[in-house]
Symmetry: C2
Subunit: 271 residues, 2 copies
Protein backbone atom coordinates (compact mmCIF):
# COMPACT_ATOMS: atom_id res chain seq x y z
CA UNK A 1 0.00 0.00 0.00
CA UNK A 2 1.82 3.07 -1.20
CA UNK A 3 -1.18 5.43 -1.24
CA UNK A 4 -1.18 8.13 1.42
CA UNK A 5 -4.01 8.02 3.93
CA UNK A 6 -6.45 10.92 3.57
CA UNK A 7 -5.87 13.94 5.79
CA UNK A 8 -7.82 13.36 9.03
CA UNK A 9 -9.84 16.51 8.36
CA UNK A 10 -10.98 15.13 5.00
CA UNK A 11 -11.89 11.88 6.73
CA UNK A 12 -13.84 13.84 9.39
CA UNK A 13 -15.96 15.68 6.78
CA UNK A 14 -16.42 12.75 4.37
CA UNK A 15 -20.08 12.07 3.54
CA UNK A 16 -21.58 9.06 1.79
CA UNK A 17 -24.81 9.39 -0.21
CA UNK A 18 -27.68 7.26 1.14
CA UNK A 19 -31.38 6.85 0.35
CA UNK A 20 -33.70 9.86 -0.10
CA UNK A 21 -30.79 12.21 -0.74
CA UNK A 22 -29.51 11.87 2.82
CA UNK A 23 -25.76 11.95 3.42
CA UNK A 24 -24.11 9.78 6.04
CA UNK A 25 -21.13 10.95 8.07
CA UNK A 26 -19.27 9.77 11.12
CA UNK A 27 -17.55 11.69 13.91
CA UNK A 28 -13.75 11.36 13.86
CA UNK A 29 -11.87 10.74 17.12
CA UNK A 30 -9.13 13.23 16.15
CA UNK A 31 -11.72 16.03 16.18
CA UNK A 32 -13.32 15.26 19.55
CA UNK A 33 -14.08 18.17 21.85
CA UNK A 34 -14.99 17.93 25.53
CA UNK A 35 -18.57 16.94 24.59
CA UNK A 36 -19.01 15.56 21.05
CA UNK A 37 -17.02 16.77 18.06
CA UNK A 38 -15.40 20.19 17.58
CA UNK A 39 -18.09 22.54 16.24
CA UNK A 40 -15.86 23.70 13.39
CA UNK A 41 -15.74 20.22 11.88
CA UNK A 42 -19.52 19.86 12.23
CA UNK A 43 -19.96 23.18 10.40
CA UNK A 44 -17.56 21.96 7.70
CA UNK A 45 -19.49 18.69 7.31
CA UNK A 46 -22.69 20.70 6.74
CA UNK A 47 -20.94 22.86 4.14
CA UNK A 48 -19.59 19.68 2.55
CA UNK A 49 -23.16 18.41 2.15
CA UNK A 50 -23.87 21.35 -0.16
CA UNK A 51 -20.47 21.32 -1.88
CA UNK A 52 -20.94 17.73 -3.02
CA UNK A 53 -24.66 18.07 -3.83
CA UNK A 54 -25.35 17.48 -7.55
CA UNK A 55 -27.61 20.56 -7.75
CA UNK A 56 -25.13 22.95 -6.15
CA UNK A 57 -24.71 26.38 -7.80
CA UNK A 58 -21.49 28.35 -7.27
CA UNK A 59 -19.30 28.80 -4.23
CA UNK A 60 -20.16 29.38 -0.56
CA UNK A 61 -21.16 32.97 0.28
CA UNK A 62 -22.57 32.61 3.78
CA UNK A 63 -23.21 29.84 6.28
CA UNK A 64 -25.13 29.84 9.56
CA UNK A 65 -24.94 26.80 11.83
CA UNK A 66 -27.11 26.41 14.93
CA UNK A 67 -25.84 23.90 17.47
CA UNK A 68 -29.16 22.62 18.77
CA UNK A 69 -27.85 19.74 20.86
CA UNK A 70 -24.77 17.61 21.38
CA UNK A 71 -23.58 15.38 18.53
CA UNK A 72 -22.85 11.90 19.90
CA UNK A 73 -19.77 9.98 18.78
CA UNK A 74 -20.65 7.80 15.81
CA UNK A 75 -22.79 8.11 12.70
CA UNK A 76 -24.93 11.09 11.74
CA UNK A 77 -27.01 11.94 8.70
CA UNK A 78 -27.38 15.28 6.94
CA UNK A 79 -30.26 16.44 4.79
CA UNK A 80 -29.52 19.35 2.44
CA UNK A 81 -32.44 20.94 0.61
CA UNK A 82 -32.17 23.79 -1.91
CA UNK A 83 -35.06 25.99 -0.75
CA UNK A 84 -34.65 28.27 -3.75
CA UNK A 85 -32.35 28.45 -6.75
CA UNK A 86 -31.98 31.75 -8.58
CA UNK A 87 -29.91 32.61 -11.62
CA UNK A 88 -26.79 33.56 -9.63
CA UNK A 89 -27.42 32.23 -6.11
CA UNK A 90 -28.96 29.38 -4.18
CA UNK A 91 -30.42 29.10 -0.67
CA UNK A 92 -30.03 25.89 1.34
CA UNK A 93 -31.66 24.50 4.49
CA UNK A 94 -29.75 21.75 6.28
CA UNK A 95 -30.28 19.46 9.25
CA UNK A 96 -27.91 17.06 10.98
CA UNK A 97 -29.81 14.22 12.63
CA UNK A 98 -28.86 11.32 14.91
CA UNK A 99 -31.35 8.60 15.81
CA UNK A 100 -34.21 10.74 14.54
CA UNK A 101 -33.26 13.75 16.69
CA UNK A 102 -32.05 17.04 15.18
CA UNK A 103 -28.62 17.91 16.58
CA UNK A 104 -27.71 20.81 14.26
CA UNK A 105 -29.56 23.06 11.82
CA UNK A 106 -28.02 25.29 9.20
CA UNK A 107 -28.69 27.57 6.27
CA UNK A 108 -26.24 28.35 3.51
CA UNK A 109 -26.14 30.74 0.59
CA UNK A 110 -24.09 29.78 -2.44
CA UNK A 111 -23.60 31.83 -5.58
CA UNK A 112 -21.48 32.97 -8.46
CA UNK A 113 -19.40 36.13 -8.33
CA UNK A 114 -18.50 38.71 -10.94
CA UNK A 115 -15.99 41.53 -11.15
CA UNK A 116 -16.96 44.78 -9.42
CA UNK A 117 -15.26 47.59 -7.58
CA UNK A 118 -13.43 45.99 -4.66
CA UNK A 119 -11.75 47.17 -1.47
CA UNK A 120 -10.69 45.71 1.85
CA UNK A 121 -11.45 48.24 4.54
CA UNK A 122 -10.26 46.27 7.56
CA UNK A 123 -6.51 45.81 7.33
CA UNK A 124 -4.71 42.90 8.93
CA UNK A 125 -3.27 43.93 12.32
CA UNK A 126 0.47 44.53 12.32
CA UNK A 127 1.85 41.41 13.97
CA UNK A 128 5.13 39.45 13.98
CA UNK A 129 5.55 36.70 11.38
CA UNK A 130 4.30 33.29 12.52
CA UNK A 131 7.88 32.00 12.67
CA UNK A 132 8.58 34.61 15.34
CA UNK A 133 5.68 33.63 17.62
CA UNK A 134 5.86 30.46 19.75
CA UNK A 135 3.28 27.72 19.20
CA UNK A 136 0.89 27.02 22.11
CA UNK A 137 0.33 23.71 23.78
CA UNK A 138 -3.22 22.54 24.33
CA UNK A 139 -4.41 20.23 27.10
CA UNK A 140 -4.69 16.62 25.93
CA UNK A 141 -8.49 16.58 26.58
CA UNK A 142 -9.05 19.25 23.91
CA UNK A 143 -8.32 16.64 21.29
CA UNK A 144 -9.35 18.59 18.16
CA UNK A 145 -6.97 21.48 18.87
CA UNK A 146 -3.99 19.18 18.28
CA UNK A 147 -4.85 19.25 14.57
CA UNK A 148 -3.91 22.93 14.50
CA UNK A 149 -0.77 24.90 15.09
CA UNK A 150 -1.78 28.03 17.04
CA UNK A 151 0.61 30.90 17.67
CA UNK A 152 -0.94 33.59 19.89
CA UNK A 153 0.14 37.16 19.29
CA UNK A 154 -2.26 38.39 22.00
CA UNK A 155 -4.89 36.88 24.28
CA UNK A 156 -3.48 33.35 24.79
CA UNK A 157 -5.41 30.69 26.67
CA UNK A 158 -5.38 31.69 30.36
CA UNK A 159 -3.03 29.89 32.69
CA UNK A 160 -3.64 29.24 36.39
CA UNK A 161 -1.88 32.36 37.62
CA UNK A 162 -3.20 34.77 34.98
CA UNK A 163 -5.21 37.83 35.97
CA UNK A 164 -8.62 38.69 34.57
CA UNK A 165 -8.37 41.00 31.55
CA UNK A 166 -10.59 43.90 30.42
CA UNK A 167 -10.23 43.00 26.71
CA UNK A 168 -11.51 39.80 25.13
CA UNK A 169 -9.33 40.00 22.01
CA UNK A 170 -7.22 37.04 20.90
CA UNK A 171 -5.07 37.35 17.79
CA UNK A 172 -3.22 34.29 16.54
CA UNK A 173 -1.63 32.60 13.59
CA UNK A 174 -3.30 29.28 12.84
CA UNK A 175 -2.57 26.50 10.43
CA UNK A 176 -3.19 22.78 9.99
CA UNK A 177 -0.60 20.82 11.98
CA UNK A 178 -0.53 18.35 9.09
CA UNK A 179 -0.46 20.39 5.87
CA UNK A 180 -3.66 20.60 3.83
CA UNK A 181 -4.46 23.11 1.05
CA UNK A 182 -6.79 25.85 2.29
CA UNK A 183 -10.35 25.54 0.98
CA UNK A 184 -13.81 26.60 2.17
CA UNK A 185 -14.08 23.49 4.35
CA UNK A 186 -10.83 24.17 6.16
CA UNK A 187 -11.62 27.88 6.46
CA UNK A 188 -15.03 27.04 7.99
CA UNK A 189 -13.34 24.96 10.63
CA UNK A 190 -10.80 27.69 11.43
CA UNK A 191 -13.68 30.15 11.92
CA UNK A 192 -14.71 28.15 15.00
CA UNK A 193 -11.19 27.55 16.34
CA UNK A 194 -11.13 30.47 18.80
CA UNK A 195 -11.47 29.39 22.41
CA UNK A 196 -14.43 31.01 24.26
CA UNK A 197 -13.84 34.74 24.93
CA UNK A 198 -15.22 34.44 28.47
CA UNK A 199 -12.22 32.26 29.42
CA UNK A 200 -9.92 35.18 28.60
CA UNK A 201 -11.99 37.79 30.45
CA UNK A 202 -12.40 35.60 33.54
CA UNK A 203 -8.93 33.99 33.32
CA UNK A 204 -10.32 30.48 33.74
CA UNK A 205 -12.10 27.64 31.98
CA UNK A 206 -15.85 27.22 32.45
CA UNK A 207 -18.75 25.54 30.65
CA UNK A 208 -19.23 27.36 27.32
CA UNK A 209 -20.34 26.43 23.83
CA UNK A 210 -21.28 27.96 20.52
CA UNK A 211 -25.05 28.26 20.01
CA UNK A 212 -25.03 29.85 16.55
CA UNK A 213 -22.17 30.48 14.11
CA UNK A 214 -22.28 32.62 10.96
CA UNK A 215 -19.52 32.84 8.36
CA UNK A 216 -19.27 35.29 5.45
CA UNK A 217 -16.86 33.96 2.83
CA UNK A 218 -15.08 36.88 1.20
CA UNK A 219 -12.63 34.61 -0.61
CA UNK A 220 -13.76 32.44 -3.48
CA UNK A 221 -12.22 29.06 -4.31
CA UNK A 222 -9.56 30.52 -6.62
CA UNK A 223 -8.45 33.05 -4.03
CA UNK A 224 -8.11 30.32 -1.42
CA UNK A 225 -6.12 28.14 -3.81
CA UNK A 226 -3.68 30.99 -4.34
CA UNK A 227 -3.22 31.27 -0.58
CA UNK A 228 0.57 31.54 -0.20
CA UNK A 229 1.04 29.13 2.71
CA UNK A 230 -1.10 27.48 5.35
CA UNK A 231 -1.01 30.34 7.84
CA UNK A 232 -4.18 32.28 8.60
CA UNK A 233 -4.22 35.21 11.03
CA UNK A 234 -7.36 35.23 13.14
CA UNK A 235 -8.50 37.93 15.53
CA UNK A 236 -11.61 37.45 17.69
CA UNK A 237 -13.36 39.55 20.32
CA UNK A 238 -16.67 39.82 22.18
CA UNK A 239 -18.89 42.89 22.47
CA UNK A 240 -21.15 42.08 25.42
CA UNK A 241 -21.41 39.31 28.01
CA UNK A 242 -24.77 39.13 29.73
CA UNK A 243 -27.02 36.62 31.47
CA UNK A 244 -25.33 33.46 30.22
CA UNK A 245 -24.48 34.52 26.67
CA UNK A 246 -21.96 36.54 24.74
CA UNK A 247 -21.26 37.34 21.11
CA UNK A 248 -17.98 36.96 19.22
CA UNK A 249 -16.80 38.60 16.02
CA UNK A 250 -13.67 37.41 14.24
CA UNK A 251 -11.73 38.20 11.10
CA UNK A 252 -9.43 35.79 9.26
CA UNK A 253 -6.69 37.02 6.92
CA UNK A 254 -4.19 35.28 4.68
CA UNK A 255 -0.55 35.94 5.40
CA UNK A 256 -0.55 38.47 2.56
CA UNK A 257 -3.37 40.47 4.17
CA UNK A 258 -6.37 39.19 2.20
CA UNK A 259 -9.50 39.21 4.37
CA UNK A 260 -10.70 35.65 3.77
CA UNK A 261 -13.74 35.54 6.07
CA UNK A 262 -15.61 37.45 8.73
CA UNK A 263 -17.38 35.26 11.26
CA UNK A 264 -19.71 35.78 14.20
CA UNK A 265 -20.99 33.61 17.05
CA UNK A 266 -23.54 33.58 19.82
CA UNK A 267 -22.09 31.62 22.74
CA UNK A 268 -23.54 30.13 25.91
CA UNK A 269 -21.56 30.17 29.17
CA UNK A 270 -22.11 29.14 32.77
CA UNK A 271 -19.94 30.78 35.42
CA UNK B 1 -65.01 54.84 16.65
CA UNK B 2 -62.76 56.12 19.43
CA UNK B 3 -60.21 53.28 19.36
CA UNK B 4 -56.76 54.20 18.04
CA UNK B 5 -55.64 52.43 14.91
CA UNK B 6 -52.78 50.00 15.48
CA UNK B 7 -49.26 51.32 14.83
CA UNK B 8 -48.49 50.65 11.15
CA UNK B 9 -45.50 48.52 12.20
CA UNK B 10 -47.78 46.26 14.24
CA UNK B 11 -50.13 46.04 11.28
CA UNK B 12 -47.16 45.15 9.02
CA UNK B 13 -46.04 42.24 11.23
CA UNK B 14 -49.53 40.96 12.15
CA UNK B 15 -49.99 37.24 11.40
CA UNK B 16 -53.20 35.23 11.35
CA UNK B 17 -53.14 31.49 12.13
CA UNK B 18 -54.32 29.29 9.24
CA UNK B 19 -54.51 25.56 8.56
CA UNK B 20 -51.54 23.24 9.25
CA UNK B 21 -49.93 25.74 11.61
CA UNK B 22 -49.22 28.19 8.81
CA UNK B 23 -49.41 31.89 9.56
CA UNK B 24 -50.79 34.38 7.06
CA UNK B 25 -49.39 37.88 6.70
CA UNK B 26 -49.70 40.70 4.22
CA UNK B 27 -47.19 43.29 3.06
CA UNK B 28 -48.00 46.82 4.25
CA UNK B 29 -47.74 49.76 1.81
CA UNK B 30 -46.08 51.95 4.46
CA UNK B 31 -43.10 49.53 4.56
CA UNK B 32 -42.51 49.25 0.83
CA UNK B 33 -38.93 49.36 -0.40
CA UNK B 34 -37.81 49.83 -4.00
CA UNK B 35 -38.61 46.15 -4.73
CA UNK B 36 -41.02 44.48 -2.29
CA UNK B 37 -41.14 45.26 1.42
CA UNK B 38 -38.29 46.59 3.60
CA UNK B 39 -36.20 43.59 4.73
CA UNK B 40 -36.36 44.66 8.37
CA UNK B 41 -40.12 44.25 8.49
CA UNK B 42 -39.86 40.84 6.78
CA UNK B 43 -37.33 39.77 9.43
CA UNK B 44 -39.66 41.05 12.15
CA UNK B 45 -42.60 39.12 10.68
CA UNK B 46 -40.50 35.93 10.82
CA UNK B 47 -39.58 36.63 14.44
CA UNK B 48 -43.25 37.33 15.14
CA UNK B 49 -44.13 33.85 13.85
CA UNK B 50 -42.06 32.36 16.67
CA UNK B 51 -43.09 34.93 19.31
CA UNK B 52 -46.78 34.09 18.87
CA UNK B 53 -46.26 30.32 18.45
CA UNK B 54 -47.97 28.36 21.25
CA UNK B 55 -44.87 26.16 21.77
CA UNK B 56 -42.41 29.06 22.05
CA UNK B 57 -39.81 28.85 24.85
CA UNK B 58 -38.20 32.04 26.19
CA UNK B 59 -37.04 35.18 24.42
CA UNK B 60 -35.15 35.68 21.13
CA UNK B 61 -31.41 35.04 21.35
CA UNK B 62 -30.39 34.96 17.69
CA UNK B 63 -32.07 35.25 14.31
CA UNK B 64 -30.72 34.63 10.81
CA UNK B 65 -32.83 35.63 7.81
CA UNK B 66 -31.90 34.70 4.24
CA UNK B 67 -33.54 36.80 1.55
CA UNK B 68 -33.89 34.15 -1.15
CA UNK B 69 -36.04 36.14 -3.56
CA UNK B 70 -38.27 39.20 -3.76
CA UNK B 71 -41.45 39.32 -1.67
CA UNK B 72 -44.33 40.49 -3.85
CA UNK B 73 -46.88 42.98 -2.53
CA UNK B 74 -49.79 41.08 -1.02
CA UNK B 75 -50.28 37.96 1.08
CA UNK B 76 -47.55 35.62 2.28
CA UNK B 77 -47.50 32.60 4.54
CA UNK B 78 -44.92 31.64 7.15
CA UNK B 79 -44.20 28.17 8.49
CA UNK B 80 -42.35 28.02 11.81
CA UNK B 81 -41.12 24.63 13.00
CA UNK B 82 -39.33 23.98 16.30
CA UNK B 83 -36.53 21.67 15.12
CA UNK B 84 -35.44 21.00 18.68
CA UNK B 85 -36.56 22.08 22.14
CA UNK B 86 -34.13 21.77 25.03
CA UNK B 87 -34.61 22.63 28.70
CA UNK B 88 -33.45 26.25 28.32
CA UNK B 89 -33.43 26.91 24.57
CA UNK B 90 -35.25 26.16 21.36
CA UNK B 91 -34.17 26.05 17.70
CA UNK B 92 -36.54 27.13 14.94
CA UNK B 93 -36.58 26.74 11.16
CA UNK B 94 -38.80 29.18 9.25
CA UNK B 95 -39.88 29.72 5.66
CA UNK B 96 -41.83 32.57 4.09
CA UNK B 97 -43.71 31.38 0.99
CA UNK B 98 -45.78 33.10 -1.70
CA UNK B 99 -47.72 31.10 -4.29
CA UNK B 100 -45.77 27.97 -3.38
CA UNK B 101 -42.35 29.62 -3.87
CA UNK B 102 -39.94 30.20 -0.98
CA UNK B 103 -39.10 33.91 -0.74
CA UNK B 104 -37.27 33.91 2.61
CA UNK B 105 -35.74 31.32 4.94
CA UNK B 106 -34.72 31.83 8.55
CA UNK B 107 -33.49 30.14 11.67
CA UNK B 108 -33.99 31.45 15.18
CA UNK B 109 -32.75 30.48 18.62
CA UNK B 110 -34.93 31.34 21.60
CA UNK B 111 -34.12 30.66 25.23
CA UNK B 112 -34.29 31.60 28.86
CA UNK B 113 -31.55 33.60 30.56
CA UNK B 114 -30.10 33.55 34.06
CA UNK B 115 -27.85 35.79 36.10
CA UNK B 116 -24.12 35.51 35.43
CA UNK B 117 -21.08 37.74 35.38
CA UNK B 118 -21.84 40.50 32.86
CA UNK B 119 -19.89 43.18 31.08
CA UNK B 120 -20.28 45.36 28.01
CA UNK B 121 -16.94 45.60 26.30
CA UNK B 122 -17.92 47.79 23.36
CA UNK B 123 -18.87 51.21 24.65
CA UNK B 124 -21.29 53.46 22.81
CA UNK B 125 -19.39 56.02 20.70
CA UNK B 126 -19.32 59.52 22.16
CA UNK B 127 -21.84 61.40 20.07
CA UNK B 128 -24.07 64.46 20.44
CA UNK B 129 -27.57 63.94 21.87
CA UNK B 130 -30.22 63.20 19.25
CA UNK B 131 -31.84 66.58 19.86
CA UNK B 132 -28.58 68.19 18.69
CA UNK B 133 -28.37 66.29 15.39
CA UNK B 134 -30.65 67.22 12.46
CA UNK B 135 -33.08 64.62 11.10
CA UNK B 136 -32.45 63.42 7.52
CA UNK B 137 -34.91 63.52 4.69
CA UNK B 138 -35.39 60.39 2.61
CA UNK B 139 -36.48 60.29 -1.03
CA UNK B 140 -40.18 59.58 -1.40
CA UNK B 141 -39.53 56.28 -3.24
CA UNK B 142 -37.86 54.78 -0.14
CA UNK B 143 -41.26 54.55 1.47
CA UNK B 144 -40.35 52.46 4.54
CA UNK B 145 -37.73 54.94 5.75
CA UNK B 146 -40.44 57.52 6.42
CA UNK B 147 -41.50 55.39 9.41
CA UNK B 148 -38.21 56.25 11.09
CA UNK B 149 -36.56 59.39 12.32
CA UNK B 150 -32.86 59.12 11.40
CA UNK B 151 -30.26 61.59 12.66
CA UNK B 152 -26.84 60.92 11.17
CA UNK B 153 -23.81 61.72 13.33
CA UNK B 154 -21.46 60.43 10.60
CA UNK B 155 -21.79 58.77 7.21
CA UNK B 156 -25.08 60.28 5.98
CA UNK B 157 -26.72 59.16 2.75
CA UNK B 158 -24.55 60.50 -0.10
CA UNK B 159 -25.76 63.52 -2.01
CA UNK B 160 -25.06 64.28 -5.65
CA UNK B 161 -21.95 66.35 -5.05
CA UNK B 162 -20.41 64.17 -2.31
CA UNK B 163 -16.95 62.63 -2.75
CA UNK B 164 -16.19 58.97 -2.37
CA UNK B 165 -15.08 58.12 1.17
CA UNK B 166 -12.47 55.65 2.45
CA UNK B 167 -14.58 54.66 5.50
CA UNK B 168 -17.94 52.89 5.29
CA UNK B 169 -19.07 53.81 8.82
CA UNK B 170 -22.46 55.39 9.43
CA UNK B 171 -23.49 56.29 12.98
CA UNK B 172 -26.98 57.58 13.60
CA UNK B 173 -29.77 58.04 16.10
CA UNK B 174 -32.90 56.20 15.01
CA UNK B 175 -36.41 56.06 16.36
CA UNK B 176 -39.94 55.31 15.23
CA UNK B 177 -41.44 58.43 13.65
CA UNK B 178 -44.73 57.49 15.30
CA UNK B 179 -43.91 56.39 18.88
CA UNK B 180 -43.98 52.68 19.65
CA UNK B 181 -42.46 50.93 22.71
CA UNK B 182 -39.19 49.19 21.84
CA UNK B 183 -39.47 45.39 21.70
CA UNK B 184 -37.65 42.58 19.87
CA UNK B 185 -39.79 43.12 16.77
CA UNK B 186 -38.95 46.80 16.52
CA UNK B 187 -35.29 46.15 17.32
CA UNK B 188 -35.14 43.52 14.55
CA UNK B 189 -36.41 46.03 12.06
CA UNK B 190 -33.91 48.70 13.18
CA UNK B 191 -31.08 46.17 12.66
CA UNK B 192 -31.81 46.31 8.93
CA UNK B 193 -32.36 50.07 8.72
CA UNK B 194 -28.82 51.01 7.62
CA UNK B 195 -28.58 51.98 3.97
CA UNK B 196 -26.08 49.86 1.94
CA UNK B 197 -22.47 50.66 2.89
CA UNK B 198 -21.39 50.62 -0.76
CA UNK B 199 -23.48 53.78 -1.37
CA UNK B 200 -21.31 55.62 1.15
CA UNK B 201 -17.99 54.34 -0.22
CA UNK B 202 -18.95 55.06 -3.82
CA UNK B 203 -20.96 58.23 -3.05
CA UNK B 204 -23.93 57.08 -5.13
CA UNK B 205 -26.95 54.78 -5.21
CA UNK B 206 -26.73 51.46 -7.03
CA UNK B 207 -28.53 48.11 -7.00
CA UNK B 208 -27.87 46.48 -3.60
CA UNK B 209 -29.76 44.18 -1.27
CA UNK B 210 -29.32 42.13 1.86
CA UNK B 211 -28.74 38.43 1.15
CA UNK B 212 -28.40 37.20 4.74
CA UNK B 213 -28.98 39.01 8.04
CA UNK B 214 -28.02 37.78 11.51
CA UNK B 215 -29.02 39.44 14.79
CA UNK B 216 -27.74 38.64 18.28
CA UNK B 217 -30.17 39.95 20.90
CA UNK B 218 -28.21 41.03 23.97
CA UNK B 219 -31.25 42.69 25.56
CA UNK B 220 -34.09 40.60 26.92
CA UNK B 221 -37.71 41.76 26.92
CA UNK B 222 -37.46 43.40 30.36
CA UNK B 223 -34.36 45.36 29.37
CA UNK B 224 -36.09 46.61 26.22
CA UNK B 225 -39.18 47.64 28.21
CA UNK B 226 -37.00 49.73 30.51
CA UNK B 227 -35.56 51.51 27.50
CA UNK B 228 -35.65 55.18 28.49
CA UNK B 229 -36.97 56.65 25.25
CA UNK B 230 -37.37 55.61 21.66
CA UNK B 231 -33.87 56.57 20.52
CA UNK B 232 -31.40 53.86 19.50
CA UNK B 233 -27.85 54.69 18.40
CA UNK B 234 -26.73 52.50 15.51
CA UNK B 235 -23.27 52.27 14.02
CA UNK B 236 -22.59 50.15 10.94
CA UNK B 237 -19.55 49.46 8.78
CA UNK B 238 -18.27 47.02 6.16
CA UNK B 239 -15.01 45.06 6.27
CA UNK B 240 -14.51 43.99 2.66
CA UNK B 241 -16.20 44.67 -0.68
CA UNK B 242 -15.38 42.13 -3.35
CA UNK B 243 -16.86 40.67 -6.51
CA UNK B 244 -20.44 41.79 -6.00
CA UNK B 245 -20.73 41.33 -2.25
CA UNK B 246 -19.80 43.00 1.02
CA UNK B 247 -20.36 42.34 4.69
CA UNK B 248 -21.76 44.74 7.28
CA UNK B 249 -21.43 44.71 11.06
CA UNK B 250 -23.54 47.00 13.23
CA UNK B 251 -24.08 47.69 16.91
CA UNK B 252 -27.24 49.18 18.41
CA UNK B 253 -27.21 50.89 21.80
CA UNK B 254 -29.91 52.44 23.96
CA UNK B 255 -29.52 56.11 24.81
CA UNK B 256 -28.10 55.09 28.19
CA UNK B 257 -25.34 53.02 26.55
CA UNK B 258 -26.81 49.52 26.82
CA UNK B 259 -25.66 47.39 23.89
CA UNK B 260 -29.05 46.04 22.74
CA UNK B 261 -28.00 44.02 19.68
CA UNK B 262 -25.09 43.21 17.41
CA UNK B 263 -26.06 42.47 13.84
CA UNK B 264 -24.32 41.33 10.69
CA UNK B 265 -25.23 41.16 7.00
CA UNK B 266 -24.02 39.76 3.72
CA UNK B 267 -25.05 42.16 0.96
CA UNK B 268 -25.22 41.95 -2.82
CA UNK B 269 -24.33 44.95 -4.99
CA UNK B 270 -24.03 45.72 -8.68
CA UNK B 271 -21.89 48.68 -9.72
Amino acid sequence: MSEALPHPFDAAVALTPAADGRLLGRTHPDYANMVGPFGGVTAAALLQAVLQHPDRLGDPLSLTVNYAGPVADGEFEITARPARTNRTNQHWILELVQDGTVATTATAVFGTRRETWSDTETAMPQVPAPEDVPASDFPEFIRWAHNYEMRFVEGPIPQDDDDKTPDSTSTLWMREARPRPLDHLGLTSLCDAFYPRVFLRQARYMAAGTVSLTIYFHADAAELQSHPDGYVLGSARAHRFTRGYFDQTAHLWSRTGTLLATTHQWVYFKD
